[in-house]
């Protein structure tokens, strides 16, 4: 049982997770940001490893990835930075990024290294279920890492059931079929979608992401799911002067 499983077994609602891109805006503040987020009360973190061609991301996270790569961020360096992770941060941590950097690093090596530094799970949006199951699931299991799958309003019920079966911590529910950084659309359709998921009584809790940017959208998401993830809105904050000092206020603004 990793830290994520423990968290979800003890806390069932109002969970807040924050995403940020490692290496942005500065190369070496990955752990400083993590520490500040834990201090501000965030329940778990998603640390992005940057990629040159992030097709699922909107302009904000694209920009942060580009800048992080310019700053010199690599998976090697990120794992070096995370060597002290568990001396400074106790909340669960996920790594989030695209398949190619992970495949180049070597998926088994990646899983081993992630487990060594105290990472609890991985989100790779462009790693499909079939490839995960047939090629990589064994490594995730060996090293005790959770793999997180995405579900959109267009995902069929059969497929959601299959995803629920393959998951062992939570399911990442997209607020709409969109790239990151949009606005949460509170249309009737979306409410129906959340209700539909809730009615399925899945084994894994759902966390809503994409389009969560303030207290209003966070609260709305928490009506239907165990919690929500804020990404682009936080990455925007990181682009401002004195960002480390502003983190606590930002988090309190989302979840007072």
């Amino acid at each position: 049982m990793n830290r994520l499983n423990k968290l979800f077994s003890t806390k069932k609602d109002n969970l807040l997770s924050i995403y940020y891109t490692a290496g942005y805006p500065e190369l070496n503040t990955t752990l400083d940001i993590a520490e500040a987020l834990e201090k501000a009360g965030v329940d778990f973190l998603e640390v992005g490893f940057p990629y040159s061609d992030p097709v699922a991301d909107g302009p904000t996270i694209q920009h942060s990835s580009e800048k992080a790569l310019e700053n010199g961020m690599t998976l090697n360096l990120l794992f070096e930075q995370l060597a002290d992770l568990r001396k400074r941060v106790t909340i669960p941590i996920l790594l989030m990024g695209y398949a190619n950097p992970m495949i180049q690093y070597g998926v088994e090596r990646f899983c081993k290294k992630a487990a060594e530094v105290g990472v609890d799970g991985v989100i790779v949006p462009d790693l499909p279920m079939y490839e995960y199951e047939t090629l990589y699931a064994g490594y995730f299991k060996t090293y005790g890492l959770s793999n997180i799958f995405l579900v959109t309003p267009q995902t069929s019920e059969d497929r959601i059931r299959k995803i629920d079966e393959l998951s062992n911590s939570f399911i990442y529910l997209l607020s709409s079929s969109s790239i990151t950084g949009g606005n949460l659309q509170l249309s009737v359709n979306i409410e129906d979608y959340y209700k539909r998921i809730k009615a399925m009584q899945l084994t894994n809790p759902a966390i809503i992401g994409f389009g969560i940017s303030d207290n209003k959208s966070f609260s709305k998401a928490c009506e239907y799911a165990a919690g929500a993830i804020v990404g682009s809105a936080f990455v925007k904050l990181l682009g401002t002067e004195g960002y480390l000092e502003k983190i606590e206020g930002f988090v309190k603004g989302i979840r007072p």
Partner: protein
């Protein structure tokens, strides 16, 4: 087919559909329906009719006598440059627009590098009265301004891709992002044998008309439908796959794919993917791509915008790995010289992409009796500025 795609969308180790969940329903809809649709009698009849009456097919197989003399073999040109819109790209665009219509799609998106695929897509959208949005790197829009105007004249909206390196790979990213946001009403017409399964197979099938015709034409010319060599240039690889398709299972046919070496394979300014690339994932498929040790995609370079792509289609990656086809590369200089030679020996100004395939002839050793087919994938009108600058006419 021995070298065809399997049920999971793989060619050996390559292919698949590495896409985020947001794209899954779109791609799955295509996967479930494409074969039923394109193998239907009514679809085939409409496709073939348009290829004949609108595109001008069959494209001629021309026995290039002065080339044959120079290179000591029977050299045949498969004239895709004579198609409507000036390249092979229209074959695939026609196929996909007919498919999109049958899927009930109301809007078409496409990516383009040099603009040939963008023009072909804008053309078929005009023909069918369907809205068309073409993504094109901001830098490519500047280098290929006449094609931007062509697309606009045909009624398409051209959207500059301003992310990343602002070229073809970024235009592809932007098109994928558009598709994520418009999952129901939009079809994405990918221009090459790249992308998630079923695109590589679907595009190859639409382009396979090239080799289908070649076999019959070769039989008429030589009394034998089987050549010794088949050659084509490769960026993503759609003209090459169309040219190879019906020869793949015939192991005695030697297949030669020519990549763009740019300023030289080791110059740091190259697009010779099989020489410089490693296995990885790009634009939805596992293939060979140019990348750093950290898995970041490297921006390629070639004087030819159509070959300036960091990956190759997954079927090419497979043919390369198992040595069914030979992958070679020629430089900018060699290609431009070959373009000039073809103009002056045969009266055909080829696209610079095509000129890469022609340049490879210099390095081949043929027997006098060899029949060699080379795909003239596009015409050189769009490249006149580049030729003029280089030769100083």
């Amino acid at each position: 087919m021995k070298y065809g795609v399997n049920e999971q969308g793989y060619y050996g180790d390559f292919g698949g559909a590495y896409i985020p969940e947001m794209l899954y329903p779109n791609v799955e809809e295509l996967r479930q329906q494409y074969l039923n649709i394109i193998n239907g009698d009514e679809f085939k009849a409409e496709f073939n009719q348009l290829l004949k009456d609108y595109v001008g097919r069959p494209s001629p197989l021309y026995h290039a006598k002065r080339y044959s003399e120079k290179y000591g073999a029977n050299i045949f040109f498969k004239r895709e440059d004579l198609n409507h819109t000036g390249s092979h790209k229209i074959n695939n665009a026609i196929g996909q627009i007919l498919l999109a219509k049958r899927l009930g799609k109301k809007r078409i998106i496409a990516e383009t590098g040099a603009g040939q695929h963008g023009v072909a897509t804008a053309t078929v959208c005009a023909l069918m009265g369907i809205e068309c949005v073409v993504y094109m790197g901001e830098i490519d829009m500047a280098r290929q301004a006449p094609n931007v105007s062509r697309m606009k004249m045909l009624g398409a909206t051209v959207v500059p891709a301003v992310s990343g390196s602002k070229t073809l790979k970024d235009a592809t990213n932007e098109a994928l992002r558009d598709w994520i946001g418009n999952p129901v009403d939009t079809h994405y017409i990918i221009g090459s044998v790249v992308g998630p399964y079923p695109y590589p197979d679907m595009v190859a099938r639409f382009q396979s008309v090239i080799s289908f015709e070649t076999k019959k034409q070769l039989l008429e010319h030589t009394g034998n439908e089987t050549p010794q060599y088949v050659m084509a240039c490769v960026g993503g690889g759609s003209n090459a796959m169309g040219m190879f398709y019906h020869f793949l299972d015939d192991e005695q046919v030697k297949l030669v794919a020519v990549e763009a070496a740019g300023k030289g394979v080791d110059s740091g300014h190259s697009a010779a993917t099989t020489f410089l690339g490693k296995e990885g994932v790009l634009h939805g498929s596992r293939t060979i791509l140019m990348q750093t040790d950290d898995g970041q995609v490297v921006e390629p370079y070639s004087i030819s915008a159509g070959l300036d792509y960091p990956g190759i289609g997954p079927q090419h990656a497979h043919l390369y790995k198992i040595n069914r086809a030979q992958y070679v590369s020629v430089t900018d200089d060699e290609a431009l010289q070959a373009g000039l030679l073809c103009s002056q020996l045969e009266g055909i100004i080829p696209a610079i992409e095509t000129a890469h395939a022609l340049a490879q002839l210099e390095k081949m050793k043929f027997d006098k009796a060899d029949n060699v087919v080379i795909c003239i994938s596009g015409r050189g009108d769009k490249d006149l500025d580049t030729y003029i600058k280089y030769f100083g006419f």
